[in-house]
């Protein structure tokens, strides 16, 4: 957690994750180059490496983009989310290799600098078939660099989670640019329907998963404010909240995680201070609300992380009346202690 920074906070899971990732990338590159040279022995090594790196980065980008909505739709995908940051940086490194090889191969031997050549050599903006598609890839690579360079808790903390998240949402713009880079670039020459079909299939999967997850999430954002009574909102029956888990509701325009533990109920902001992970999808472990994304912990009654950590989330007043849980939509300052509501019939 955030009281000190390390380059990478290694643990066993991260090592397994990264080894698997590295093995997958190396295997893919080896298979691509082996099959590529077997089928096209006349091809140059530069061209094959360039294409191997480009396709690896493009495929990994699809995986990176699919993990988020998959985790929202099915919690079994949460382990993939755990170290997605390293997957994103790996994807950037592959894309950077592709860009560097392309710059060298196509712009490295002229009478102007490679970057100048990249920017001015093709002015056919009026033609789709001859569009300067390399500029689309270069712009996407720049965006991916911004994201890879800030993929660290230092930047997350100093930029603040909302700004950091907004910056990293540029991945969608980068994805759009890369798809068009492929369509207006290699697919203008490679006319195989298989390649075009794979690209369209990837786009359908990525956008379809996001649309499905967004549709499901939308229901959670329906305001419950109409249930307000005496300033509190009825968020459901005590018995409906599983032990040591939460129900997530929208109050005052944002999500609140209402946790039940023993005969008590406490309510916290649903957004983890670390990366705005969904606290309400975590559990109470060892007495602490534990974020499902990276394991950040908070005391349920005051929203403060255990010493020596300093993260705090807003808390909300709770009541239990006739077996139903009521929560005030007014957020208390982060870290403010709020007496948990107790269920009289469940007192120990």
């Amino acid at each position: 957690m955030g009281h000190a920074y390390q380059a990478v906070g290694w643990n066993r899971q991260k090592k397994i994750y990264d080894r698997t990732l590295l093995l997958g990338v190396v295997l893919y590159l080896a298979v691509f180059l082996g099959v590529g040279f077997a089928l096209h022995p006349e091809a140059t090594a530069e061209t094959m490496i360039l294409r191997a790196l480009g396709t690896a980065a493009f495929m990994l980008l699809h995986v990176v983009l699919a993990i988020g909505p998959l985790s929202r739709l099915d919690s079994r995908f949460l382990p993939l989310l755990y170290n997605r940051r390293h997957m994103g940086v790996t994807m950037f490194l592959l894309a950077f290799g592709h860009g560097a090889f392309s710059l060298l191969q196509f712009h490295g031997f002229g009478d102007v600098g490679p970057l100048v050549s990249l920017l001015v050599s093709n002015p056919r903006f009026d033609s789709l078939a001859q569009f300067p598609f390399q500029l689309l890839g270069a712009l996407a690579l720049f965006l991916l660099f911004l994201m890879a360079a800030t993929s660290h808790d230092f930047w997350l903390t100093n930029l603040t989670a909302p700004v950091w998240k907004a910056l990293h949402m540029l991945v969608y713009l980068a994805y759009g640019l890369i798809v068009m880079h492929v369509v207006l670039g290699v697919l203008q020459a490679e006319t195989s329907p298989l390649l075009a079909g794979l690209l369209v299939l990837g786009m359908i999967v990525v956008l379809g998963l996001h649309l499905a997850a967004g549709w499901r999430e939308r229901a959670l954002d329906e305001p419950l404010d109409q249930l307000a009574r005496e300033g509190f909102v009825d968020v459901g029956a005590f018995e409906e909240i599983p032990e040591a888990c939460a129900r997530v509701v929208t109050l005052g325009g944002d999500r609140v995680a209402v946790f039940r533990y023993g005969d008590r109920v406490s309510a916290l902001s649903n957004a983890c201070q670390h990366q705005n992970g969904p606290l309400g999808e975590g559990r109470i472990i060892d007495g602490f609300v534990t974020c499902p994304w990276h394991g950040y912990q908070y005391k349920p009654d005051c929203g403060a992380s255990p010493e020596p950590f300093t993260e705090r989330v807003p808390t909300f007043e709770t009541r239990i009346v006739d077996g139903r849980v009521w929560v005030s939509p007014v957020a208390q300052a982060p870290g403010t202690y709020v007496e948990p509501a107790r269920h009289p019939g469940r007192a120990r």
């Binding site: 096209h40 022995p41 006349e42 091809a43 140059t44 061209t47 031997f109 002229g110 050599s121 056919r124 033609s127 789709l128 078939a129 001859q130 909302p162 998240k165 907004a166 949402m169 969608y172 713009l173 994805y175 759009g176 798809v179 068009m180 369509v183 207006l184 697919l187 203008q188 020459a189 490679e190 006319t191 075009a196 690209l199 369209v200 786009m203 956008l207 996001h210 649309l211 967004g214 999430e217 954002d221 929208t250 325009g253 944002d254 999500r255 957004a271 705005n276």
Partner: protein, 142 residues
């Protein structure tokens, strides 16, 4: 995510879902189809073009807005042959200073090289590895 970020996320996805299929569709529809039945080197008057057996070069359109179709028929292509345009007349022994790169002949797949207005220009095939002009051709008005 907090609600404003969720809203922004939905906007990005909605924007991509609306624009990307259109862009991809237009991009795929714009793919040029290789001309059929064109004879080797049609529209080009070669001064010399040695070591290029198996390579089919044909001019697609009028030299005022020319496209050069490259259709290799054998695998043994030289990987280092580049195509240039120059204002110098054919019969060159070295690459002129005003030559500008149009594309590469490497590979075995048919492809189109956009030449633009090529009237009065000379097409030059140049081996980068051997620093040698392999052939040059003037455009023939049809």
């Amino acid at each position: 995510m907090i609600r404003p970020l969720r809203r922004r996320h939905r906007l990005w996805i909605a924007l991509l879902s609306l624009t990307l299929p259109v862009g991809v569709g237009l991009g795929l529809a714009a793919r040029p189809e290789a001309p059929r039945g064109e004879s080797r080197s049609s529209g080009l008057d070669w001064t010399k073009a040695r070591e290029l057996e198996g390579l089919d070069l044909s001019l697609l359109t009028d030299p005022s807005d020319a496209s050069l179709w490259v259709r290799p028929s054998v695998d043994a292509q030289r990987p280092d042959v580049l195509v240039y345009l120059t204002s110098e007349p054919p019969g060159l022994d070295s690459l002129p200073r005003d030559a500008h790169l149009v594309g590469s002949l490497a590979g075995v797949r048919p492809r189109r090289l956009e030449l633009g207005d090529a009237r009065g220009s000379t097409l030059v095939l140049y081996s980068l590895g051997h620093q040698e002009v392999l052939g040059s051709a003037a455009f023939v008005e049809r």
